[in-house]
């Protein structure tokens, strides 16, 4: 289990850096400091078919969300930026 985001305290000091492998000791230390939640990296177990299906669903969903605006100029750019952002974790 690897940290995906730095863990910082209230003053912004980094307690644990992104990429650190979590051990029982580090988890216990975080609990002692009352850190309620952390982000961990999880291995992607989706196969190509599942990823393709998720991509199709994401595209259809965004098309529905942007259905009443013309996808030109800045609105067009926004549509493409959000699409890229949503699909970045679904690369085949």
């Amino acid at each position: 289990m690897v940290l995906q985001r730095d863990v910082v305290d209230a003053r912004g000091r980094i307690l644990l850096r992104t990429g650190v492998a979590l051990t029982e000791q580090t988890i216990a230390s975080l609990q002692r400091r009352e850190i309620g939640h952390i982000c961990i990296a999880v291995a992607d177990q989706r196969n190509e078919d599942e990823l393709a299906k998720e991509r199709r669903q994401t595209v259809a969903h965004l098309n529905e969300l942007f259905r009443n605006v013309r996808r030109e100029g800045y609105m067009g750019a926004l549509y493409h930026m959000v699409m890229k952002h949503r699909l970045k974790d679904m690369a085949l």
Binding site: R5, V8, D9, A10, R11, L15, R33, E34, I35, G36, H37, E64, L65, F66, R67, N68, V69, G73, Y74, M75, A77, L78, Y79, M81, V82, K84, H85
Partner: protein, 284 residues
């Protein structure tokens, strides 16, 4: 488009003006945004004037999110640890969310409303820095931007119900439905209400014009441009419930001096801020 409601606009605004205002302490804290010299002592005094607010802010500061090593037992200590702006934002956010929930409007989805308001706050705060605007004013304006919806739902419940029906059947935006049924939209109502409560004019104007159209854009302030763009982005990123992305004035982004790249690079940070904010508010 003609309004089908037979109540005059003056009467609507008069009704809305009778809505109970948030606690005095919250309004006073928001007003300190106008005072660049507001000290920690001034803010602490205003928070301490409301025992309920004081208790809530201390509770939030002592949650695991802030990872305060020792127990924080006073506002002065909280300001020293987390900074004046963070504590002011916490107090405003908590006070506004509480105020919304206490209003008791029927047929009103408070959770979606607060989530959307929190989403717009996060976008506005994130984009305020590159647009050279005050991120704390942007944050509070975001929390309050749709208060006109709540005001309409409370003061004109039957008409507001018809507005929601109209939106469903005509597949249009809420503000289009409000104009068609009531003859005024929640942005104008919210702006009027904020003026009635004597909140900073920058916030009043930003709320009044957050659904701006190109023909009135020349009258819009940078803060109203920011709120307008933040509203569209919050819908596009689905921060809170979103049925459709609304129209955006194409010129608002260049007027703010923002680039497409700055927008695209802000998405991840905005989403992280939004998750954190919901955690702090205890919304899951």
């Amino acid at each position: 488009m003609s309004a089908t409601c037979d109540i005059s606009l003056d009467s609507i605004l008069q009704n809305v003006g009778m809505l109970p205002s948030p606690p005095h302490a919250i309004l006073e804290i928001i007003r300190t945004l106008e005072d660049g010299d507001a000290s920690a002592e001034t803010l602490a005094r205003k928070i301490e004037a409301d025992m309920g607010l004081l208790a809530h802010v201390l509770r939030l500061v002592n949650t695991s999110y802030y990872a305060t090593e020792g127990r924080v037992s006073s506002i002065q200590q909280a300001i020293m640890l987390l900074g004046l702006n963070e504590i002011r934002n916490l107090a405003c956010m908590h006070g506004i969310a509480d105020y919304f929930q206490e209003q008791g409007a029927t047929n009103f989805d408070y959770k979606s409303f607060i989530c959307h308001s929190a989403g717009v706050s996060c976008v506005a705060r994130q984009l305020a820095r590159p647009a050279l605007l005050n991120p704390d004013t942007a944050f509070v304006a975001g929390m309050l931007h749709d208060i006109g919806q709540l005001a309409l739902a409370i003061t004109l419940p039957q008409q507001f119900e018809r507005v929601l029906d109209y939106r469903r059947t005509h597949n249009c935006t809420l503000e289009e439905a409000e104009l068609a049924i009531i003859g005024i939209d929640h942005a104008q109502v919210g702006g009027n209400l904020m003026r009635h409560w004597h909140l900073p004019e920058e916030i009043c104007e930003a709320i009044a014009y957050h659904h701006q159209t190109a023909d009135i854009a020349m009258f819009c302030s940078p803060m109203s441009d920011l709120l307008h763009v933040s509203e569209v982005l919050a819908h596009a990123l689905e921060l809170g419930s979103s049925e459709q992305v609304p129209f955006m004035d194409e010129n608002a982004i260049p007027r703010l001096g923002l680039t497409r790249e700055q927008l695209a690079h802000s998405f991840g940070k905005i989403e992280e801020d939004y998750c954190d904010l919901l955690n702090i508010l205890g919304i899951h």
